[in-house]
Symmetry: C2
Subunit: 438 residues, 2 copies
């Protein structure tokens, strides 16, 4: 099975765990059968491989997510990077071209596309395989998954199927309705459109060539910024006559708000937290090194990260966005391809950052114009290169770097460093990268 | 007026703002008329001096509070340090001897004793002055304040007065009753015993000499550990025949739990916090450098400090103690005579601490057996002395100290230092102090 997982952008609706550079799909709040915590993207990947161990998985995403995907899924997964946002048709065209031109997938093979974030069970992945099979059989150019609605949601588009059969034609597509209209649709047998569908690779590739002037994947990638924003639904789905819908009546939960996300959590507390026995329907996700104590709470989510602390009634939590927009704050924590960093302290003229490098990884070789830096190694061993000079480092070693000096650090084991930045203007943009002569 | 403020021990009922070394009376959550935040002890001191600018104020407290008192009240206030806890009679005897032998107060002068922590208005301090006057007049050996009860509290002892007059004899003392009994007492005209009273200095001094074998304040201080624990009520008050009670019907609120403390707060939020418009009766006290966002909460207190985060229903918050007892955690923040420190990070084999020294102050000259240390100056200027060598320091300067090396730092301006401690065993007890040769 060829599968494209659409890994959407960052969002503020799960603040403080999601931010401008970190998305909900990377938060580790679910449990594996072995009892370890895993993220949405890890869970969907594990479930996929369990259904089809040879599945070829490609994640269509933005550049900012590449480090987190590599950290959480390793090197085996394919990544189709969208250079910028251009809606779903360009994104799916790019990922399809990537499958064909980079991964060497035949134009005749079926491709299944689905979002990375709903909470689903094993039956969903079996349905995906079936969807791919239907596309391969070629009775239709596009085969959609139609999810049996559990309530008259206003969040989804609806598909009116031609019959009550497991697989049928499509009578009509409906935009996100209000609750009244949704009820009426459902009484007419309508299904949710969850953005899950399958096609033969060449079908989308041909559509892409019809609508966009490009030669191959690399050419499409290079001109991506010039493309018009257009959704797949508008560009393709709603115009296609040879289209079918396959019913799915298993679990399919959108985890876009704290309210729905906490419903899908396996534990009431993730991280250092205590709830007393008078708490009811309370969830705590605590990424800080501080204990959280909850007493006498009902229907509340508490979420704490280096970005901030949310304490919200669960239903209210869906109205979070405008409040988070008001909170201006530099990014305090980030996962990188080489490890992670966390801002520990900000003073006028200084910033202290704890840097963790994974074993075998290194920072870019770089310099800063407007700040000096001091590294104190707090654990692990490795090497620093400062203005071309390599030195081994161990806990307690100190490296001081004047503004302008080129530097990097290489982790031989996992390496933790307390970095103090000093200067009148400390900015993430003050960074020049250099190639390291070997 | 000579006044002894009893500044009680640390408590866990206001966790995470109070801990083993920090007490509720030092938390800055009230507002001065100028709009600045002040603590309980600062407020009571300010209110006292407003009533009587020449008041001689002595704080009876434990050693652990001396730094906080000096930081918050300055050098003018007297401090009678109890070397250990020995209940109220030894504490008041020691403070009374301190007034006589150290401050030179005449044995004929009245002394007023009151706890540091209730929330009161100006009329209370006028009542204290009146209480002292009554003691000076000498009609009774002890004059108690009897507080008009506002509800049948189980938290206080009761005084049954001889009459309904403003000042009267005492018919009986009653231990803390249950609510039913409290109601009955109140129907008989009983008053709360808030631990507020006045006497002529020599009265308590004579009682002390009767019950304890000592010569003067210094002798009493030295043998303090050998004294028997006994309350003033038991040792003196309940046996005294020449005793009066003066009614007080102004505001007098005990601030011992989050529920009562938040009632007395001037602002709903102290620190970086947002409440959305659906919050009702919510208080946030946030000492962290992180924003707190509250949505849709009712009757809740949120309190965040380097010790942890509390989210509690206000009524439930009075049951906090056993939960906090379960939280084992090194002290993460402390005020010292020279400034303050905050633990930023703990790893196996290292601990990172942000140290703030007040201008003109210095650490003790000291060494550690089992750890190395690295200082990176992040702001301010001063001098370090390392193994006798003095060096000026400024932001960006780094000082490395091997185990065994003697060191201190002197702040010429306010000085902030990121200190990384490195060693297999990092403990507050690994510290030898030395006299600095000048």
């Amino acid at each position: 099975m060829n599968i494209i997982l659409l890994s959407g952008g960052s969002g503020k609706r799960l603040w403080p765990l999601s931010n401008d550079i970190r998305s909900k799909q990377f938060i580790k709040i679910f449990k594996t059968p072995q009892g370890e915590y895993e993220s949405m993207v890890q869970r969907v990947y594990r479930q996929l491989l369990r259904t089809d161990k040879d599945a070829r998985v490609t994640i269509a995403t933005s550049r900012t997510q590449v480090s987190s995907i590599r950290n959480q899924l390793g090197e085996a997964v394919g990544i189709s990077v969208e250079p910028c946002r251009r809606d779903t048709f360009p994104a799916i065209a790019l990922a399809t071209a990537y499958l064909h031109d980079v991964q060497g997938v035949s134009a005749e093979e079926p491709v299944v596309v689905c979002p990375v974030d709903p909470a689903v069970e094993q039956d969903y992945f079996e349905a995906l395989a079936k969807l791919g099979q239907l596309a391969a059989e070629g009775d239709a150019n596009l085969v959609l998954m139609g999810i049996e609605p559990t309530y008259p949601s206003e969040k989804y588009g609806y598909i009116i199927p031609g019959s009550r059969d497991a697989v049928s034609g499509v009578k009509a597509f409906k935009e996100k309705p209000d609750a009244e209209t949704a009820k009426e649709y459902i009484s007419r047998g309508a299904l949710w459109n969850g953005g899950v569908f399958a096609y033969k690779l060449k079908y989308v590739l041909d559509k892409a060539h019809e609508l966009i002037d490009f030669t191959d994947y690399h050419d499409l990638f290079d001109r991506y910024e010039t493309l018009t924003r257009i959704s797949l639904d508008y560009a393709v789905v709603e115009k296609e006559e040879h289209i079918k819908v396959m019913r799915f009546n298993g679990q399919w939960k959108d985890l876009g708000t704290w309210n729905t996300l906490t419903e899908a959590m396996d534990d009431a507390c993730v991280g250092n937290a205590i709830q007393n026995e008078t708490c009811r329907n309370v969830h705590v996700i605590n990424e800080l090194d501080l204990p959280v104590l909850c007493m006498g709470l009902k229907d509340i989510v508490v979420s704490a990260s280096p970005e901030g602390i949310l304490v919200s009634d669960k239903e209210q939590s869906s109205y979070i966005k405008p409040y988070v927009d008001e909170i201006e704050r530099p990014v305090m924590f980030a996962e990188k391809s080489w490890g992670s960093f966390r801002v520990m302290d900000i003073e006028d003229g200084s910033m202290t950052i704890k840097v963790t490098l994974n074993a075998g990884h290194m920072m870019n070789y770089h310099s800063h114009k407007l700040r000096d830096e001091v590294w104190t190694i707090i654990s692990g061993t490795g090497r620093t290169i400062v203005d071309g000079m390599e030195q081994p480092v161990k806990p307690g070693d100190v490296v001081t770097m004047q503004a302008g000096c080129r530097h990097t650090i290489i982790a031989d084991t996992e390496l933790k460093v307390m970095e103090v930045q000093l200067g009148e203007e400390i900015s993430v943009h003050d960074k020049q990268k250099f190639r390291l002569e070997s």
